[in-house]
């Protein structure tokens, strides 16, 4: 049996990075939300804000903890599986990742402690400051990592000599052409994620009639935010796509399922791309719309996948469908945000159970949209790792065998499944206990200490045995 280390490394990288990415995308949005809640409670002294903030800080702690452990894995992936790439691009990527550690990770770690456990130890102003610093840290971290990633899509400010990239201009390389779009799109995606999760959970509490006042406040606040952000994301995405058309035309051709260079290109709503025969097996589209969107001209010409040899094309079906999932969910988000606005009139929003149920369901959609978006971006870059300069095949670790790669791939899948199920289980438990828990646990506990992300919550691990816990059970095994 011949195992291909390249394919296995790609699957492994996609798996570990997708796993890691779902946590930051939520914590970035949530950190800012918590900072806002802290600001509101600092200003108005309304206990509802403190209650909300304490509750969401607990959720934040769990998610952040999982983000940290999976992130540590990421920083070694470049060396273990992509050592040729790491060697070639170290002059740029090394400083980027190091700056991320020294400017963001240490900042987040230090102030997180004060945020989680310091409410009764530091003055309210310092506590608010800590919340703001944690939120700032998440942005700084996104800045560096997305700059690094964008450079791989649009490599400028560097020159390739003897197989190694040398930086010729730091500012050009850091602020490379796709970076502003990717950064904005990603930050808005994080806010959408935070917004939809908070809105969905609040809607659920309203459905079962818990903590109505605070949860109404939370839902209302989120819906205002989403009303602006959801449409904004579509507009930013459009600009992002236009920029991609300029720098990576084959990725856009794959997104559109467009095989032959031509004019009057239709916008395909549905199609079954057939890479083998270089065509779509079946398609439904709106005439000329793709030309209009991409060139702002009804009979604009768009390059098709046939511009390059089949082996230089990205896997079309994955890109095509991931793109439709992302955009479809984006449109659904806009729809929900506007429905919320309409229902506000006369307070119908609090009575429309179908809407609250719908919002509950919507809380998972940002995670799907974000993962799909990354699949568009990353799979669409194939076969390149550094676009136009270094292919995936050149990048892989030379000494890596298929067996080794398979071993670690299976290993990571097993380890992450365990971590993830335990984490989600615990998170559900925090949500299940809800906001009420926050207040009566007022007395500070001497050992709740900073830098222990998950320990912010007082919730026992098992769901059902709280009442019957007896000492005999505890050590018995």
């Amino acid at each position: 049996m011949d195992l291909d280390p390249l394919i296995l490394s790609r699957i492994q990288f996609a798996f570990v990075v997708s796993f890691h990415a779902i946590f930051p995308v939520f914590t970035i949005g949530l950190a800012s939300y918590i900072a806002v809640l802290e600001g509101l409670s600092f200003k108005t002294k309304n206990p509802a804000w403190i209650k909300l903030s304490s509750f969401w800080t607990k959720v934040f702690a769990v998610v952040f903890g999982m983000g940290v452990v999976s992130g540590i894995v990421m920083s070694f992936q470049f060396g273990t599986n992509w050592s040729n790439f790491a060697q070639a691009s170290a002059n740029f990527l090394g400083p980027m990742l190091s700056y991320e550690v020294i400017t963001a990770f240490f900042l987040e770690a230090s102030f997180l402690g004060v945020l989680l456990f310091g409410r009764d130890r530091v003055p309210a102003g310092v506590h608010l400051f800590a919340a703001i610093m944690v939120a700032t840290g998440t942005f700084i971290s996104s800045f560096w990592i997305l700059s690094a990633n964008s450079w791989m899509h649009t490599p400028v400010g560097t020159e390739l000599r003897d197989g190694v990239f040398y930086v010729t201009s730091w500012s050009e390389a850091i602020f490379n052409p796709s970076f502003p779009y990717r950064f904005t799109h990603m930050v808005v995606a994080s806010f959408l994620t935070g917004g939809f999760v908070v809105a969905g959970v609040s809607a659920w509490y309203l459905l079962i009639g818990r903590e109505v006042e605070a949860n109404r406040k939370a839902l209302s606040m989120c819906l205002w935010l989403l009303l602006f952000l959801a449409p904004a994301q579509a507009i930013i995405g459009d600009f992002h796509g236009l920029n991609t058309l300029e720098h990576q035309p084959m990725k856009v051709a794959a997104m559109e399922g467009h095989w032959e260079t031509s004019k009057n290109v239709p916008l395909l709503l549905f199609a079954i791309p057939d890479q083998e025969n270089q065509t779509n097996r079946f398609e439904i589209g709106i005439p000329s719309l793709a030309s209009l969107i991409l060139t702002h001209d009804l009979d604009g010409e768009i390059l098709g996948l046939n511009e390059v040899a089949p082996q230089e094309q990205p896997p079309v079906a994955i890109v095509f469908w991931s793109f439709r999932i992302m955009v479809g969910l984006g449109l659904l988000m806009i729809l929900f945000a506007f429905t919320g606005l309409i229902l506000r009139k006369g307070g119908r929003i609090w009575r429309a159970r179908w809407f609250l149920q719908g919002m509950r369901f919507m809380s998972v959609t940002p995670f799907i949209a974000v993962t799909a978006g990354w699949f568009v971006t990353e799979v669409g870059r194939a076969p390149w790792l550094v676009y136009g300069m270094m292919s995936q095949a050149e990048a892989v670790t030379p000494s890596l065998t298929g067996g080794m790669a398979l071993f670690t791939l299976i290993g990571y899948v097993v380890v992450y499944s365990l971590v993830f199920s335990a984490g989600v289980y615990y998170l559900m438990r925090v949500l299940y206990v809800g906001l009420e828990d926050g207040e009566d646990n007022g007395e500070p506990d001497p050992l709740e200490r900073p830098k222990r992300p998950l320990s912010a919550s007082h919730v026992p691990f098992e769901l059902h045995n709280d009442s019957k816990a007896n000492p005999a059970e505890q050590g018995g095994h």
């Binding site: 050592s83 002059n91 090394g94 550690v101 030379p398 200490r449 830098k451 998950l454």
Partner: protein
């Protein structure tokens, strides 16, 4: 412009980062290694609480080590990691399990014993894997044209298993002396009892390694038996630290055993460095061969000089906030 030897400066910075990591994460991994042997479940709570506030920050130094190597000496990063491929995976899984065990153990009731094992097993695995890294480093790698060309299990030799066990014992010693400093009563007494046997184990492994290395490696032999006799100060200091640990444990001092153990680690570490200096990827590449581009090293150095003082202040501040003894029953559930 290029008249500063930046590669040399970076060698010091990375060297500093590595020993920071070893000392800081070393004692909390050590506490994990000793975990299953603790006198009681209540003592386990105390042990965990003694490192809980700081372990996460400690591990960030590891991330800095990885990213810093990539930035300053990419050749080390891209040879070491492929050479240790399976070992790195094992170390990371160990760190993951012990990281989440920290958090879930206190919430668990019936499943608590599982998290105890995740914590102890994860810490032990991570420590052993790091010892293997040291061993592989001494042993050297098979390289050609700047890439690793050896096999998947080259890192697994009797020698590296020995260094793995050595670091395990060393971390456990750091852990037990840390507990002497941070706890009292029965737990502290237990830690006192443990420290001397652990010290003996560490010294035995050190002795075997010191005799073994010059035999397998001409370069190391030449270095130690040439006219550069000044370096014999280092093993002398190591022995002095060992004696100091022995004496202070005997006399029931509280802080000194930990300080002396750190001294033991630092001097042994320096001894390792002088054996290999200036080779960063033994046996072929020096630190100058392994360095990244001059302007990349400079770009990061400038930022580092500004930011690292702040980082050190945060770290010191955290330890200061949590100074003093951790008491039983202070658990947080």
């Amino acid at each position: 412009m290029e008249h500063f030897d930046l590669a040399l400066i970076w060698a010091f910075i990375i060297g500093f980062g590595v020993i920071m990591y070893v000392l800081m994460d070393g004692f909390d991994l050590g506490v994990g290694i000793l975990f299953p042997f603790a006198p009681s479940e209540e003592d386990r709570d105390t042990m965990m609480n003694s490192v809980a506030p700081v372990w996460d920050g400690n591990e960030t130094w590891l991330v800095l080590g990885g990213a810093g190597l990539l930035a300053a000496f990419p050749l080390v990063y891209t040879i070491l990691l492929p050479a240790l491929y399976i070992g790195v995976f094992l170390m990371l899984s160990g760190l993951i399990f012990r990281g989440i065990a920290f958090e879930f153990r206190f919430k668990a009731r019936t499943s608590r014993y599982l998290w105890n094992w995740a914590f102890a097993g994860g810490s032990t695995l991570a420590a052993f894997a790091q010892g293997i890294v040291v061993g592989t480093y001494i042993q050297g790698y098979e390289t050609a044209n700047g890439v690793f060309v050896g096999g998947a299990f080259d890192w697994l030799t009797p020698f590296t298993v020995l260094t793995g066990l050595g670091l395990l014992a060393g971390y456990a010693l750091l852990g037990s002396t840390w507990l002497i400093m941070k706890t009292e009563g029965r737990l502290q007494e237990w830690a006192y009892k443990l420290s001397l046997p652990l010290l003996a184990a560490v010294l035995v492994v050190f002795a075997i390694i010191s005799v073994w290395t010059p035999f397998i490696d001409d370069m190391v032999r030449d270095r130690w038996f040439s006219n550069l006799s000044i370096i014999w100060v280092l093993p002398a200091l190591t022995l002095l630290c060992a004696f100091q640990i022995f004496r202070s444990v005997r006399n029931r001092f509280e802080g000194m055993p930990f300080v002396a153990t750190m001294g033991l680690f630092v001097t042994a570490y320096l001894g390792l460095i002088v054996s290999r200096w200036p080779y960063l990827v033994p046996p072929d590449y020096t630190l100058w061969d392994a360095a990244s581009a001059y302007n990349s090293q400079l770009f990061l150095l400038l930022g580092l000089l500004v930011v690292i003082p702040f980082v050190l202040v945060y770290t010191a501040w955290t330890y200061w906030v949590f100074r003093g003894k951790v008491r039983a029953g202070e658990g947080y559930h």
